[in-house]
Symmetry: C2
Subunit: 295 residues, 2 copies
DNA sequence: GCTATTCGTTCTGTTTTAAAGAACGATTTA
DNA sequence: TAAATCGTTCTTTAAAACAGAACGAATAGC
């Protein structure tokens, strides 16, 4: 029942070159041995991988399929070998964090901060789209993905979404706005800068508006929090965003917080793959209280 | 020197469960055998994969690393096994085509058309961004990527870009434009709808403009050809695009072709990985004359 | 058209490797 | 303190991978 990886390896080598004898020489085994083991693989799989035409070998359709899998399997294996071969030295601990590119940089930095001071550890921080990051997570190229929305896992992708923190969402705008906006009344005449429709915060905001029968004028939809910060600063529109993003501007009076929206939160999630042996450093990160991540 | 995949498999299984004895029972081997082979793997790699604390096994940092690789290796292997196990039947030929999402649909369809009639073959057609598609190509999840620009390969990613076709690029706009635009003079007063700056056609257009010392007014930059078609139809601006994209509109008089731009071409490339055994159907596609792809 | 060569397969015996079993040591539980 | 659990080590046995020779078919050279 089980796949023999040594047989598959021989098959892969022969399929790469197309010649059995040459491959046998390169691998320092006899061609008879090679021939037999490939035959055993074919018998186990129940299908011919090569089509024998005269004294030539051609890949069958099944062979092409197997070859594609073999390619990823053994390139991974060679990468692993190389990793151990180069460094006889002990491997340093590595934590690889992916973050959705539109996520608050403050939050990202707060999350990894405990690791920054440690010189016994390598930190890898990558940004990207959600799809891309989740793919890397599944391929074990990342240990954790930071996102502003949870992900539902399934049997094929056993993701686990853990809420790390939440913060209130306010109406943020120039301090000189008149009349000063207030929620839910006192919004007429103002236009909004909102998160994009895929954002969970935006969804909560829309629900809130629909509850109060408000149809706010939308000046811009922005995915990136850093971008929203710029727009809030440089326009006269009202941004719907967590105050912490513009902490500096609020402090020096460039912007003003016109009050938090009830029941609307910007949430932060850590998405991991459930596994028996987590990296101890990562585990420590995930079990910390969420409060300290946002200051 | 070479990695023993059976040893790695045992290691993977033990690392997954965390228990040697239980894993031995599950695999129907003795714990002594399991223990020895993992030890052999450690000796070959030159580092301990487990840290033995009392009678417990914990993954070392090197072990975590190896485990990540093992995970991808053996999930791939199991997928391969399952594929052959389910179907005792012969595998049908599969051609998997990726196309940059902004590419002309006409062209995509023209490319795969010879495969559409065949019922001895499965066609898989996926759209996506260039990065994503190239990653899938490298992982052998795609056989070919269609793009409007070539890609330079390197030793790590031995991509091969082959030009399939080229078509002229014209000034396309409403037939009622006055004064009627013409190149290179007679453009003043008109605004342009152009491909995005990453597009090779756009680059050629900019070069042409700089040669004639023109600084055209830009109304919009659009990546997607289908989108550009809509804008050309619904505005009074001049679109820079291949006439074939709006063939229907040109025919029924909704739009007018104000002439091709000299030396500017929209080009189409097929990007593949060089390999010994190409799928015969794909090979046939790639060696066809490019002309027929565009009508 | 004949012969020599190449290349993959099959069959035989030999060597290497994986496996099982018993003894051991260390740690946890009762 | 005894019993049970769990991983390691040592020795023997079973299974596999392997090499070599014989074979057959297809190509290449003359």
């Amino acid at each position: 029942m089980k796949l023999n990886y040594h047989h598959l390896y021989y098959f892969w080598q022969v399929a790469k070159s197309g010649h059995l004898t040459r491959t046998a020489e390169a691998l320092h085994v006899s061609q008879s041995s090679l021939s037999q083991q490939i035959r055993q693989l074919e018998e186990r799989l129940g299908q011919a991988l090569f089509i024998r035409e005269g004294r030539q070998l051609h890949l069958s359709e099944a062979g092409r399929l197997a070859f594609d899998y073999a390619e990823t399997i053994f390139t991974q294996g060679e990468e692993l070998s190389a990793l151990f071969a180069e460094g006889g030295h002990a491997h340093r601990e590595v934590v690889r964090v992916g973050a959705v590119a539109t996520l608050s940089r403050n939050f990202q930095e707060g999350f990894v901060r405990p690791l920054l001071g440690r010189d016994d550890l390598d930190l890898i921080l990558q940004s990207g789209g959600m799809d891309d990051l989740l793919r890397r997570l599944s391929a074990h190229k990342l240990d954790v993905v930071l996102s502003n929305q949870p992900v539902r896992g399934d049997s094929e992708h056993p993701w686990r979404s853990q809420r790390l923190a939440r913060q209130p969402v306010s109406l943020i705008a120039s301090p000189h706005l008149s009349p000063p906006p207030s929620f839910p009344n006192g919004l007429s005449g103002h236009a909004f800068i909102l998160p994009g429709v895929e954002n969970a915060t935006r969804h909560a905001f829309d629900q809130l508006c629909s509850h109060y029968r408000l149809t706010p004028k939308i000046a811009a939809e922005v995915d990136d929090m850093a971008m929203m910060r710029l727009l809030a600063r440089d326009t006269q529109h009202i941004a719907v965003m967590p105050p912490v993003v513009v902490r500096d501007e609020l402090h020096n009076g460039t912007l003003k917080d016109y009050g938090a929206l009830p029941g609307v939160w910007e949430e932060f999630y850590a998405i991991t793959i459930q596994r028996r042996f987590e990296s101890p450093s990562l585990k420590a990160l995930l079990t910390r209280s969420g409060e300290s991540l946002l200051d």
